[in-house]
């Protein structure tokens, strides 16, 4: 159940999203597809492409978290669960226009599974048989990982199910590995 803070942030991010300049979703979908093709030209192995997408996503996440925090003002989150509620609900709403839904948490509240309906990156996509294993949404996983890293959460984000492989919706999991601390220098 989202906290009151998370609900307020979702409203604020919907309002902020409506004011932002937008591009057509087909442009984003096709650009992303061509982008992945381009990465394949530089590195032929699927594992390397997956790793490269994750790295690019992380670099993006480190930056866009400041964009989100500077535009949406909200109270400090009281727990990792609240942070994930805000990230999945409002973070995706602010940048993507669609909100994710958290499906479940594990017992220790350190791992969640969330669903993203209408993931427009996957429109029109078919993965050929010889490229099975490609994690098409790995850049999104990297963005979440980078964003949480910037606020001192070390997490592992994985694609559990993907519409490009025939699932009904895209499902991801976020697992908290470690809490980081600001460095104190030498």
């Amino acid at each position: 159940m989202p906290t009151k803070n998370a609900q307020n942030v979702l409203k604020a991010s919907e309002a902020a999203y409506s004011k932002l300049p937008k591009v057509s979703s087909e442009l984003l979908t096709l650009t992303y597809g061509v982008f992945i093709q381009q990465i394949f030209k530089t590195t032929y192995r699927i594992e390397d492409v997956n790793a490269k997408l994750l790295e690019i996503g992380q670099n993006m996440g480190l930056r866009i978290v400041d964009d989100f925090l500077s535009h949406i003002v909200f109270e400090r989150c009281s727990s990792f669960t609240e942070t994930c509620q805000i990230l999945v609900g409002s973070g995706f709403m602010y940048f993507f226009g669609v909100s994710g839904t958290i499906l479940s948490w594990n017992e220790e509240n350190s791992q969640c599974v969330f669903l993203l309906k209408h993931n427009l990156l996957n429109n029109f996509v078919e993965i050929p048989a010889h490229l099975e294993g490609l994690k098409y949404n790995n850049m999104l996983c990297g963005v979440i990982k980078g964003a949480l890293n910037a606020i001192n959460f070390k997490v592992k984000v994985e694609e559990v199910e993907s519409t490009v492989y025939g699932a009904n919706d895209d499902v991801f999991s976020i697992s908290l590995e470690e809490l980081l601390h600001d460095e104190t220098g030498e």
Partner: protein, 141 residues
């Protein structure tokens, strides 16, 4: 307005500007480390002392100068050292972060994260802080 610093969460000083030309730094690297360490300790001290969570120090004054400070959730620390009579720089630092730092530095693809802000790629931000920020802060006090 005497000095301005920007630190990141890895204790690196990304930017340092001095307006007071008469100010002599004996060992500037040591001074930067001291400022970062002081802010780190003050944050811990206040969180242990405060009656409820979320308390932050906005400014610290001595009889000679005032240190104004804003820290983002992502660990960027904006520090402004001014004369004692200057008040309320916190809101200006927040506005600086939102309107100048995020669009011109963080979202700037030409800027490599955690590198020095005194470069061509972040010229807009650097020039704004050096030329316009003091008059905005001092003009309204």
């Amino acid at each position: 307005m005497e000095s301005f610093f920007v630190f990141n969460r890895k204790a690196q000083c990304l930017l340092h500007i001095d307006w007071d030309e008469g100010l002599v730094h004996k060992n500037i690297d040591h001074e930067k480390d001291n400022i970062y360490g002081f802010l780190f300790v003050i944050r811990d001290f206040i969180s242990s002392l405060a009656p409820f969570e979320g308390q932050i120090a906005r400014s610290i004054k001595t009889n000679n100068f005032a240190l104004h400070y804003f820290q983002t959730l992502t660990g960027y620390r904006f520090v402004c050292i001014t004369k004692v009579d200057v008040v309320d720089v916190y809101d200006h630092l927040v506005t600086l972060y939102k309107e100048q730092f995020v669009p011109n530095v963080v979202l700037n693809p030409m800027y490599e994260l955690n590198s020095n802000l005194d470069c061509i790629e972040t010229g807009l931000f650097f020039n704004y802080v050096r030329d316009e920020f003091p008059s905005i802060v001092l003009g309204k006090t």
